[in-house]
């Protein structure tokens, strides 16, 4: 079989042109949407903070360096002399990743959590079997070890993230 180099070259150029044009258009759109996506992330974080401790005075976010799970935390003044912290934590396992906002009171009891991102393959099972009961429970200590929910590894990951946040607070880290 004889290859028609001229024709092959032409089709190749044509394909490359189309792909290049596509990449250009997408880059253009990306400039617009990436800003909006960043805005959404900030908004979601703010909404999450309000879900964790309700109306309270939140301090500036303080970044945490050299920690593989904790990215930052906020000091919270809950009024009536009560205080607490909200930690932004994230972790991965074999089935995906989870990002949470974890509220801890200053006496190291566990507060509410807010799910920022849940890309586990068993996301719904994890949500219904572990995270929602945790959020609804009055006393979090009683439910934190209920990891046998059909998505055990995901639940264990969430539990470890919450405990990591508490240990960081307990350790007196700034």
């Amino acid at each position: 079989m004889k290859i028609e180099w001229g024709k092959a070259f032409k089709t190749g150029i044509f394909l490359a042109c189309i792909a290049g044009a596509a990449a250009l258009i997408l880059s253009g759109v990306n400039v617009v949407t990436s800003k909006k996506i960043e805005e959404n992330r900030v908004q979601k974080e703010a909404k999450g903070l309000r879900r964790v401790f309700g109306e309270a005075t939140y301090g500036e976010a303080i970044p945490v360096e050299n920690d593989k799970n904790i990215s930052k935390y906020w000091s919270v003044n809950l009024g009536e002399g009560k205080e607490g912290r909200v930690y932004s934590v994230s972790g991965t396992n074999s089935y995906g990743s989870v990002s949470l906002l974890v509220g801890i009171y200053s006496d190291f009891s566990l507060g509410n959590i807010y799910v920022l991102e849940n890309t586990e393959s068993y996301a719904t099972t994890l949500q219904d079997g572990y995270l929602t009961p945790y959020i609804q429970a009055e006393d979090k200590e009683t439910v934190i070890d209920n990891v046998r929910c059909g998505a055990t590894y995901g639940a264990k990951l969430c539990r470890d993230l919450i405990l990591t946040a508490r240990n960081h607070y307990k350790g007196g880290n700034e």
């Binding site: 089709t11 044509f14 990436s34």
Partner: protein, 249 residues
């Protein structure tokens, strides 16, 4: 092209050649995102947008695309619009984006979109391709919303509003309209929300459509036979009348 042809290219995708129920294309999203009506509507919107855009562009470029590499070109065009839709959804409807997940990307290999590009848009004018895209988009959206409605109402027992389209409820929690499940009663069929329920509902809906088609075909056959018999009887009566007339004379 005449006006009736424009109408034909629009309407055919909705009923007569519905991409899901008649052509049996695009079953994957029809099963995966039909747990809630809202997700199905969102998927339908994204699907229609990609289909219309790719149809128009393929049709506009149909004289320039070399035949040898037509399919790769269509795939690039579709992938571009899918990525565009993906970025838009992530920016403006983040909840919808996370609900649909990987199925937004999978629009690239959706048989309906590629099929319409190859079978229709590459052979017809821009206006017809536009109408064809809108028609097929509406047809597919209606089909998956129907399946989602069955699965959500019977399976979850409630209709949830504001889970995916959060702007409908603002800052608050999503509202759940109780239908089969409410305070004090619960007659919902949980199984329908599972993957197995998806297959089951689609199978039964297709069977109902087939049954209606069969019934129509039977009715047509019976009607034809009756018409034939009636014509025969009339002919006989006419003959008899003729004979009687002749006998009188």
């Amino acid at each position: 092209m005449s006006k009736s042809n424009h109408r034909e290219s629009f309407v055919s995708g909705i009923f007569a050649n519905n991409p899901l129920f008649v052509s049996l294309l695009g079953i994957c999203p029809a099963l995966a995102v039909t747990k809630s009506i809202e997700a199905a509507i969102g998927m339908g919107l994204l699907f229609t947008f990609v289909l219309v855009c790719s149809n128009v562009l393929v049709s506009a470029l149909r004289k320039f695309i070399p035949e040898l590499i037509s399919t790769p070109c269509y795939i690039i065009i579709i992938a571009t619009f899918v990525t565009l839709v993906k970025m838009m959804a992530e920016a403006f409807l983040p909840e919808l984006y996370s609900t649909l997940g990987v199925f937004v990307s999978l629009l690239v290999v959706n048989c309906v979109i590629l099929g319409r590009a190859e079978a229709f848009a590459s052979k017809n004018g821009v206006l017809d391709s536009l109408l064809d895209g809108i028609g097929n988009g509406i047809g597919f959206t209606l089909a998956i919303v129907l399946i989602a409605a069955v699965r959500e109402i019977l399976g979850a027992g409630t209709i949830t509003i504001g889970q995916t389209f959060t702007f409908l409820v603002g800052e608050g929690d999503p509202t759940r309209l109780p239908i089969l499940k409410g305070p004090g009663y619960d007659v919902s069929l949980f199984a329908l929300t599972t993957p197995a329920g998806g297959f089951l509902v689609l199978g039964i809906v297709l069977a109902i459509i087939a049954a209606i088609k069969n019934a129509k075909a039977r009715k047509k056959a019976v009607d034809e036979r009756l018409a034939k018999e009636k014509a025969k009887a009339e002919a006989m009566a006419a003959k008899a009348a003729q004979a009687a007339k002749e006998a009188k004379q």
